[in-house]
């Protein structure tokens, strides 16, 4: 049974690509936690930046010497922090770009994800401005080159009464006032980014703002190791009467200056504007018909708030019930709803044991009502000729299961495995199934973010609604599969069959 759209080719490819990096476990795979890694790096930059700002002299004459002193006399702390600060900025830029590509590949740039996408795109230029501005504060030859090149590039816009380049034309033009502007760029813009990050995460429930502990340790340890192995050193002090001969160049953060020199300011500005316009307009890209959003059935909603708690996109709120005084009713924000069905799996009214002929739950997906799943399950169990009758619940976004369908295996694709109310496992077993296998995506790999996690917790009995503890644990299992993990799925099925043979469990 399948009533849901499968993942697009790009999404499937990306998920398969990402799966390959689960070498140890998804918790060690950075591709699974790019947003959280970027967030951690932001705070590393803030923490190291606060210390550096406190100890360096932010004046034309004092900046260079104070940073040099810090790097030489206090290399074991201040110098180390300086290098960590720079490498964290490099990592931040790279991780942010990969994060953007990943979200695009997973289709999270329109519909319910529009707000997060747009705010994320706006954060990119802020990141670039803040990063480039950091080089100016250390008034060495690299800072001088970047400041001059930035001024030349910015002067393309006819916005400034006096050309910015005149501020970096000669040593006499450089003033402490100009340095205050540099400080503002490097501190004020990250403050703007902080506001932007708040907007960026606003529509995400349970946003992962810290990577898993193993990855956190690797990341912080890696930054320290890099700072120790290749400490960042200043160039010679800035001298505006001289063009720097050779620069140990940061191509990750400062690639724009050589690009402007190799082409023209106009070409690069047009490229930047075109890229930004493309990214900002991407949510308008035509898509296959957007699936219908979750629908609340007022007479069956008890106001328990479990759908509110489980929605990954904060798309559900509670409003006063129109018919039952003192009761609350779930309300779905259509713009924010991802049509993932996690709310259906969370709703206690979704239990198939209810005696009504047509199962109507409190909140449901119109394109794949929970009653269809119960009907399909019943009819398959009645008609399956096999000696063993194994029911497999899986996810339309995950590993393909159709090939398994046969005399003794019935597969059911849900929009997301989180759509499955856990009571369906018990229901299937009572209705004639020999065993039930629940196929979830790998940890942190759910297209809808939380489907795998909620399903795992519901079946383990730690999150309501739970699978009752009285259900025979030898007759059901859960397996985590990547999109190309057909062999793992078949092995799990074989293990379940073997267990049934061994225990002699039969319907």
């Amino acid at each position: 049974m399948s009533a849901t759209a499968p993942a697009t080719r790009v999404t499937s490819w990306w998920r398969g690509f990402e799966d390959r990096f689960d070498l140890v476990s998804p918790r060690w795979n950075p591709l699974r936690h790019l947003g959280a890694i970027a967030f951690l790096l932001f705070w590393v930059l803030v923490a190291t930046g606060v210390y550096l700002y406190a100890v360096i002299d932010t004046s034309v004459t004092g900046a260079y010497s104070s940073i040099e002193r810090l790097s030489r006399e206090q290399w074991w702390f201040g110098g180390l922090l300086r290098s960590v600060h720079r490498y964290a900025a490099d990592w931040f830029a790279v991780v942010a770009v990969i994060h953007l590509v990943r979200e695009w590949a997973l289709g999270r740039f329109r519909a319910y994800a529009t707000s997060s996408w747009l705010t994320g795109v706006v954060l990119l230029p802020l990141l670039a401005v803040s990063a480039i501005g950091g080089f100016w504060l250390n008034w060495d030859q690299l800072g001088q080159y970047s400041a001059s090149a930035s001024a030349e590039w910015l002067d393309w816009w006819p916005l400034f009464g006096a050309p910015l380049t005149r501020n970096v034309l000669a040593a006499t033009a450089i003033s402490d006032r100009l340095f205050s502007l540099f400080v503002f760029v490097h501190i004020g813009v990250p403050l703007l980014m902080l506001f932007g990050l708040w907007f960026h995460l606003r529509r995400l429930a349970y946003a992962a703002v810290w990577p898993p502990r193993p990855l956190r340790r690797v990341l912080l340890g890696g930054l320290l190791m890099m700072a120790l192995a290749a400490p960042i050193q200043s160039h010679a002090p800035a001298n505006l009467a001289q063009v720097p001969a050779v620069l140990a160049y940061d191509w990750i953060l400062l690639f724009v200056h050589p690009l402007v020199a190799a082409t023209s300011a106009t070409t690069v500005w047009l490229g930047v504007l075109a890229m930004l316009a493309l990214l900002l307009l991407l949510p308008l890209w035509p898509m296959r018909a957007r699936p219908a959003v979750a629908e609340v059935h007022a007479r069956h909603c008890s106001g328990c708030r479990r759908c509110v708690a489980d929605c990954p996109y904060d798309a559900i709120t509670m409003v006063p019930h129109p018919e039952r005084r003192g009761f609350a009713l779930a309300e779905v924000d259509a713009d924010a709803c991802a049509s993932c069905g996690l709310c259906v799996g969370a709703c206690p009214s979704s239990t198939p044991f209810r005696s009504m002929a047509r199962l109507v739950t409190g909140i449901d997906l119109p394109q794949q009502p929970i009653d269809d799943l119960r009907q399909a399950l019943r009819s398959r169990l009645v008609t399956m000729p096999g000696r063993q009758r194994i029911v497999v619940f899986g996810c339309a976004q995950g590993v393909a299961m159709r090939d398994l369908d046969g005399d003794d295996v019935a597969t059911f694709d849900l929009t997301c495995i989180g759509q499955l109310p856990p009571s369906f496992v018990e229901y299937a077993l009572r209705d004639g199934a020999s065993a039930v296998l629940v196929v979830a995506c790998r940890e942190s790999a759910c297209v809808f973010r939380l489907g795998q996690r909620w399903t795992h917790e519901r079946l383990a009995g730690t999150r309501a609604p739970v699978l009752r503890a009285t259900v025979d644990p030898t007759r059901w299992g859960m397996v985590a599969c990547g999109v190309q993990d057909g062999s793992i799925l078949r092995a799990a099925l074989a293990a379940l069959r073997h267990r049934l043979e061994r225990t002699g469990s039969a319907p």
Binding site: L23, V24, P163, G222, M225, V243, W251, I252
Partner: protein, 168 residues
């Protein structure tokens, strides 16, 4: 579940490769903004051209037509002339530009910025600047033999206080 040591090793290799790539491109390859045998000549000024029209005395009849608070004895049109600059290097034209005055009323300063690489060595630099409404000839000129050391930056500027065109 036991994880094969090879998987741990592969994971570690990937981490190290990523960190090494970042460390590498954070400082390498070196960037040479200018060839070692070249210098840079920058032409930059921020200068108000002369007013296009002189101030004129207003007749009593003209003053009478104006509101009492606006009866200034002289009227000075604000619009200024564009500023034209020409730079020759060793007798050959290197740079020509005419900068319009800024502002909606064309009464602001005209500005020019251009950075040009020149071969290191001794060169004759001739600069001419016009900031009046005249169409022929120039109001200021500068002619100097200049030694450009490799990677040296020389700036052509204009400063009325310093007598006009400067080359530093």
């Amino acid at each position: 579940m036991t994880i094969h040591p090879l998987r741990w090793l592969s994971q570690a290799v990937l981490y190290v490769a990523f960190a090494a790539a970042i460390a590498l491109f954070s400082q390498w390859p070196p960037h040479r903004p200018l060839a070692a045998d070249q210098a840079l000549l920058k032409v930059s000024f921020l200068h108000h051209g002369q007013r296009l029209q002189d101030c004129v005395e207003q007749s009593p009849e003209e003053l009478a037509k104006l509101p009492p608070n606006m009866r200034a004895p002289t009227r000075c049109p604000r619009e200024r002339a564009p500023v034209t600059i020409e730079v020759d290097l060793d007798g050959r034209p290197l740079f020509r530009d005419t900068a319009a005055p800024a502002g909606l009323s064309r009464d602001g300063a005209a500005s020019v910025y251009r950075s040009m690489p020149v071969a290191a060595g001794t060169h004759r630099v001739q600069v001419r600047l016009r900031d009046t409404a005249r169409t022929q000839g120039f109001d200021y000129s500068h002619d100097e033999r200049v030694v450009f050391a490799p990677l040296q930056v020389r700036v052509v500027d204009f400063s009325a206080e310093q007598g006009g065109i400067t080359l530093k």
